[in-house]
Symmetry: C2
Subunit: 202 residues, 2 copies
């Protein structure tokens, strides 16, 4: 490997390492209470180096959320060896475990002031679109009808709403959350079964 | 009626009338594109009078959203003469019709920058709590178990997610939206039927 390549790699690694530290910090401390100094201190680097990669706290935060969404997309990757319902449960469990470990971050992204930032919203939308595409793929439907798209968008809202309520202190187990999410999706899909793909109605 | 009472009433009426105009304006124009001058002009009053009631645009906007939520709570009032499922459909139809008439406003509150304002979030939360309380009342459950609360919070997220997708252009009919919302709730409630109220599990 030549020197330039090695340098590029170490820059990418350095950047990623700082994002991991940011994820840790933002998962435990409210956004407004975190300063660039805190991040630099937690990382054992100078504030200047952080500003070298990101223009400010909001920019850094958006990169941290992107990193978290990449994680979430990776850990919830459907396991092709499982049957559809088990595959869904498996991904939901991974989703809930990840969220559980990053509670405050999740609530901020979903409901906090900075969560309304257009860049953050775009990242969250990408996550939702990935979930939707995976379910549509799993159902083996090449062109999902609008009813299915709306139903799945609704279902994603279901999971998010239930998770927020859980994170805010409702005592339900992870398995109960998985179960109710599976059943809510089942309810939506019965509608599709009644109106086979391709049928039009007004 | 004495003079003081009449004055108080007309102040309240005036205020309400301005909120109705604001609701009209914000339902058709993005928040950022609306100025206090536009509102004053639409109402045929001076900017000074608007500032007499509200300190600025954001304050006025929050009051408009509160007014809209009062409307929504009123139009979706459950009809005690209907059977439970019909009652739900009836309220859902009223909800969707109202939202359809105030599309832009709904999207702003749910996803726009100003939608993250703590005062707006509190108003939206009050709406969600009202919906939750009504469903719990309808089920005749005095102390809803956490599973039900989380499931209903999820269901409210379902309706919001589906509605946003519909408003963004997915071609589904109002009745399809009603139907999938009813079925999603049915899916959640089957969970409760399996675990009767009062039973504890860990």
């Amino acid at each position: 490997m030549d020197r330039a390549k090695r340098t590029r790699r170490s820059v990418a690694e350095r950047r990623r390492q700082l994002l991991r530290i940011g994820l840790e910090v933002f998962s435990n401390t409210p956004y407004d209470a975190v300063s660039i100094d805190d991040i630099a201190e937690a990382a054992g680097i100078s504030k200047g180096l952080l500003y070298h990669y990101w223009s400010g706290k909001r920019e850094f935060y958006a990169a941290v959320v992107e990193e978290a969404v990449r994680d979430l997309i990776a850990v919830t990757e459907p396991d092709p060896d499982l049957l559809p319902e088990q595959r869904l449960r498996h991904s939901l469990r991974a989703y809930l475990d990840y969220v559980d470990q990053h509670r405050r971050g999740y609530l901020t992204v979903m409901h906090g002031g900075v969560g309304a930032d257009p860049q953050i919203r775009a990242v969250v939308e990408r996550m939702r679109q990935t979930v939707l595409d995976r379910i549509v793929d799993g159902l083996g439907i090449p062109a999902p009808p609008p009813t299915l798209v709306v139903g799945l968008r609704g279902w994603i809202g279901f999971v998010e709403g239930a998770v927020v309520s859980w994170l805010r202190g409702q005592h339900v187990t992870r398995e109960e959350l998985v179960e109710m999410s599976v059943r809510a999706l089942g309810g939506v899909l019965t509608l599709l079964a009644d109106h086979p793909v391709g049928e039009q109605e007004e």
